[in-house]
Symmetry: C2
């Protein structure tokens, strides 16, 4: 169809909120997945208010223009990649955060960074737990749209566990308020929960009400290395079936080495696996928990076990873990996986990934939020090497097939986006996929909301 003039939309908005200059629009074409197939928007709306978003969606609905919502652009599954002829609506300038310490709630605009919400909460002695590794540069809107996870989720749950309500602009441009400041509320269908993780396919979230909890206690940290992979994964099973650590992270040998290359902190380059575990139980009890974890590691032939109740020393290992993705990224372009399996299948998954890496002759570094079976295989490739790129993309799919075969999911916390969509049907099966499509069609009959992401 011929593109309508965005000038009409620009006129309905305050000055300067609509970009149509290709150079100015360019940075908005890709999210962090750097999808080579990203298209070109006809305009980018830099929304500052719900009304701006509403004006954009109304105009798009009127003209049948696809709308791509965008937060901080840190998505790893291409959920915010532009498609040709779309209206990109970015909420990255909607960053207000209000804390109510009395009810322990935060009212947050979607462009506010996760880290800024944490800081604002901390100023009142409060804590917003969900902590994607990207917490310093990912936004709450994207966190909610993907039901983002993170490191502390093994004990404290994921984004959906902290969202009490939201404002959403629906596909017809109408605005609804879902949920609200009520800790228990079962009146009507769980629509708030439905929009969490919907990846912009049902509407655009323009405000979120979050539940906060009292500040986390300073954690004690344990680091253990293993000469055999199976010993490390058995340790994970033994720990998670016995207690609830506040963090339980895994790095394989390629990851350990990539991190050591950057940090020179003295990690054991020969170790097949390393676990980073934290306990935030009250003082005294954390020591008991750390002692139990130490015993489990030793029973499983850990080559070294180190623990500290010094918060800064512990944090250095967490920073090392968070640095894993940028560290591996120095070795080439990445395809970033986030498949998850039931915890007892973690060893099978990691071993299977190593076989895929060998078969496809590419480097795959695996790190994991091991405590909930959620892994991040990082597939490294040189985009200028066509053969290697192709092998990496083949491996990317094979990792998802492997996870499905092990009773796992194709995405634990990043979302389906455009990159993982081809596998969604294999994972869900045709019946559940059809159920997804029925919901999508009910809320977005014209299919203008983020088409091509998650669902067709």
């Amino acid at each position: 169809m011929p593109s309508p003039e965005p000038a009409q939309l620009a006129a309905a908005l305050p000055t300067g909120r609509l970009l149509t200059d290709p150079a100015k629009m360019a940075p908005y074409r890709w999210d962090r997945a750097l999808d080579p197939d990203a298209g070109t928007p006809i305009a980018v709306l830099c929304a500052k208010t719900t009304a701006d978003v509403q004006a954009g969606v109304r105009w798009a609905a009127q003209h049948g223009i696809p709308v791509i919502p965008r937060g901080a652009g840190s998505g790893l599954s291409g959920g915010s990649s532009a498609i040709d002829g779309c209206l990109m609506i970015t909420v990255d300038e909607m960053t207000a955060i209000e804390i109510d310490p009395l009810t322990r709630m935060a009212t947050v605009e979607p462009g506010a960074l996760n880290a800024h919400v944490k800081q604002a909460a901390a100023a009142h002695g409060l804590w917003y737990p969900p902590d994607p590794s990207s917490f310093e540069f990912c936004s709450i809107g994207g966190n909610v749209a993907t039901n983002a996870g993170g490191l502390c989720c093994v004990k404290y749950g994921v984004t959906t566990d902290y969202v009490l309500g939201m404002t959403v602009v629906l596909a017809d441009g109408s605005v609804v308020e879902l949920g609200g400041p009520r800790l228990k509320d079962v009146a009507g269908l769980s629509l708030t929960k439905l929009f969490i993780g919907s990846e912009g396919t049902l509407g655009i979230i323009t405000k979120v009400l979050l539940r906060l909890v009292p500040a986390q206690r300073p954690p004690a940290t344990l680091v253990a290395t293993f000469a055999r992979l199976d010993d490390a994964t058995q340790t994970v099973v033994d720990i998670t079936s016995a207690m609830r650590p506040s963090m339980l992270e895994f790095m394989d040998k390629p990851t350990i080495n990539a991190v050591e290359d950057v940090t020179k902190m003295g990690l054991d380059r020969d170790a097949e696996a390393m676990l980073i575990v934290q306990s935030d139980e009250p003082a005294g009890h954390a020591a008991v928990e750390i002692a139990q974890i130490t015993a489990i590691c030793e029973k499983n032939s850990a080559t070294e076990v180190f623990d500290t109740d010094d918060v800064e020393t512990g944090e250095q290992f967490v920073v090392a873990r968070r640095m894993a993705i940028p560290a591996v990224e120095r070795k080439g372009s990445l395809l970033l996986e986030d498949v998850g399996v039931p915890v007892p299948r973690l060893g099978d998954l990691v071993r299977g990934i190593a076989q895929i890496a060998q078969r496809r002759d590419i480097l795959i570094a695996v790190l994991a939020h091991a405590g909930d079976g959620n892994t991040h295989p990082l597939l490294v490739f040189d985009p200028s090497d066509a053969g290697q790129s192709e092998r990496a993309h083949t491996a990317y799919g094979e990792v998802m097939d492997l996870a499905i075969g092990l009773g796992g999911t194709i995405t634990g916390e990043h979302g389906v986006g455009r990159l993982k969509k081809p596998w969604l049907g294999d994972y869900l099966g045709p019946d559940v996929l059809a159920l997804n499509q029925r919901i999508k069609k009910a809320l977005d009959p014209a299919g203008i909301m983020n088409p091509g992401a998650m669902l067709d």
Copy 2:
């Protein structure tokens, strides 16, 4: 329309699973809401398997017969009341429970009682937290269908926080598996969450996968009485803004007296309010928390504060609290409310309810899961007194109107059912109500699943 012969359905089922004898069907006409408008089913299907449920729904779908799903029949909003000409499908004989201690998960059939799930988990040192006061006689299927809450939810969350997956028979008789044994999973829309709290309007849940946690630590208990209501509600605000007790319950004067009538345990009949608070922090730390709570109570002029770390002594107060509903029930028939408000509005709600009680000249006893603002006003009336019954029903609606006016919800944990449906639109507003109806229509276009409950 003329009723089709249930014999055709009976033939498709194993012998004895379909009741059509009015005397045998009678106990299935009402749930615990005892809706006087309950109708008469054409048949009651006592399902033992998912296939039985499927056969029933298929037959109903084919003939356009309304289907009413039923678990233990303990619902308080009339969500399982029969309507004339319906097929009642009861899953109360589907009671299997399997625990996997390695992954801390329970696979549970919907008719299993909450208490039995707790017991099965406890046998492995594990805990299923959600604890409606009716936990000894309510079923997991109903808990999931209403997103049931309870007493420990103030710290441990509600049913939805513990459901990882489910098997559902949809309105066309097809069966889908939603979610599964994956602690993080964001592939596709959050359909598991959508079915939780859907009150049988979207399908019938025939199996549930629950997340368990390590056993709760033995709690310390504090009981405080107050001569002024405002002091008690201010205490609730002060406690919840400063810490996370594992229980924070409230009883008003009529409730205290009704419980004392039955238990003769020496409760202060003159107190305007009583709080029962628990801390399950590790030993030592619980004492610190209890000391903080004591200080808050004393600051707010509590007339008496008693605490104990003896679990049995503490449990006596919890049992007294759980006995509140049956104790008040001795005074007459009940209309059981479960309105909730933001915690700082608790005092306004309780005061407003007392005004309604006075204006309508009926007894309203108020107990509350105070820590999350979720109250249970119990409206007492004599059903043989037409005027009093009418006043009680008027007051029932006025309590919901009051809650809505205070930014609260019409139902915090019981569900909308048939009794609260007339207020759902007032609470949600027409736009969100319409959104609910769009989802309902997408999944149950013929409207056969529990028609008249929650949605029209």
